[in-house]
């Protein structure tokens, strides 16, 4: 993925300016910067939710440029998990995976729930997700991420609300994703678990959009 001279002004306030970045296979880019600097805005812009003031985001697939960035990216918002709160865990995962073109049967969905120990007969079906705890909702969102064939992950505070055990599951999942040639852009206040994985750091809000190799 190639980001060239991306800049974004929110309500006329310049958040990041002329930010350029190459992200290749297997790379984990850490988005650093003080609170309110625009880290989440940067991820949302790359995800296509916000119109950048200037600059482009280009996606270079192995067999040539990717037409629709949405095929290549899976986005995990910071303070939300994109779940139909009145519906069950399996229904949620089935919906998002079907939109990605995967036709998974319920048992296949259950196996995807297992690593996040959400694969309990009482929890996985007919149990509204709104009754889940914050950590359980986050784990369900991460299960969606794991199911997604998208090559690039845009992670906004992925470990928010996770306990230590879920944290290690996520770290393994992330390293497998990177090993398979995927990449990820991540905003995270807690960097300890990802020490070895980060290949680049982008500072937003400090010096204007510079890129330092970690």
């Amino acid at each position: 993925m190639e980001i060239t001279k991306l800049s974004f002004a929110f309500r006329h306030r310049r958040l990041f300016h002329n930010l350029s970045l190459q992200v290749g296979a297997g790379e984990l880019v850490h988005i650093a910067g003080p609170n309110g600097a625009g880290k989440s805005t940067f991820l949302a812009t790359v995800a296509g939710l916000l119109t950048p003031a200037a600059g482009t985001v280009a996606y270079q697939g192995s067999d040539g440029p990717i037409q629709d960035r949405r095929d290549a990216l899976e986005y995990l918002p910071a303070e939300a998990n994109g779940l139909y709160l009145k519906m069950g865990a399996t229904q949620n995962l089935q919906f998002w995976s079907r939109l990605r073109g995967l036709n998974l049967s319920p048992p296949e969905i259950w196996t995807a729930l297992t690593p996040w120990n959400l694969n309990h007969p009482l929890l996985r079906d007919g149990f509204a997700v709104e009754k889940f705890s914050t950590g359980m909702k986050r784990r369900l969102a991460l299960a969606r991420l794991q199911l997604s064939p998208a090559v690039g992950w845009l992670l906004d505070e992925p470990v928010y609300g996770l306990d230590a055990e879920a944290m290690t599951i996520f770290t393994n999942m992330l390293s497998q994703h990177l090993a398979k040639g995927g990449f990820a852009l991540m905003v995270s206040h807690d960097l300890l678990p990802f020490a070895g994985l980060i290949t680049k750091t982008v500072v937003i809000g400090g010096k204007p959009g510079t890129v330092e190799a970690a």
């Binding site: 309500r11 006329h12 306030r13």
Partner: protein, 230 residues
Amino acid sequence: MITAEDRRELYLGAILLTLVVGHWLAAFYYAPVDEHQGEVYRIMFLHVPSAITAFASSAALAVFSVLGLKRRSEASLALAKATAEVGLLFTVLTLATGSIWGRPTWGTWWTWDARLTTTFLLALLYCGYLLLYAAMPTGPSRIRACAVLGILIFADVPIIYKSVTWWRTLHQPPSMLRAGGSTMEPEILWTLVLGIVILCLYGAWLIRFRSRNIRLADTLEAASFDQLQT
């Protein structure tokens, strides 16, 4: 404080305003007395141009809305918002003069005449547009939402007009708002056409002037956010 540009704009506005007043004088003295309605038909020279400007504004709103969708710029939104405001002004003026004209002509302040009813709905649609503009936070999503509504309004006006006209013809033959029967004497016709042209130009001037105010206010809002930053 007033820049040279403002001054030029105001001169143009003053000229247009004198043209409007000049036309009014022509409407009073140049146009002959109408054999059916006598003198009161002279209200037509304000009522009809105002109505046409109001409906022309809905077309302008649609044009700026399509521009807004294409360019997604605050400038086109400012123009669209100014158009909705001026359009509302002229619809209200049309309704007021229509009802004042109706009083001596039919003895009532309001009749469900197809054109008046459509104008009334157009006023509500303009209010809806301004409400949506006020209800949305500044940004691209507001530009898009207002643009789509602007197009919807323009698409709906003809349907409203046709349905209201049919609704009225079932109950009452088309009203006699058109003074001097179908063939107007040339003096009346020309005075009316002149009035329409002048008022449309004045309306356009109002839209331009108001939209520059909106742009100015947007820039100051941006500056206040920058001020927040330092």
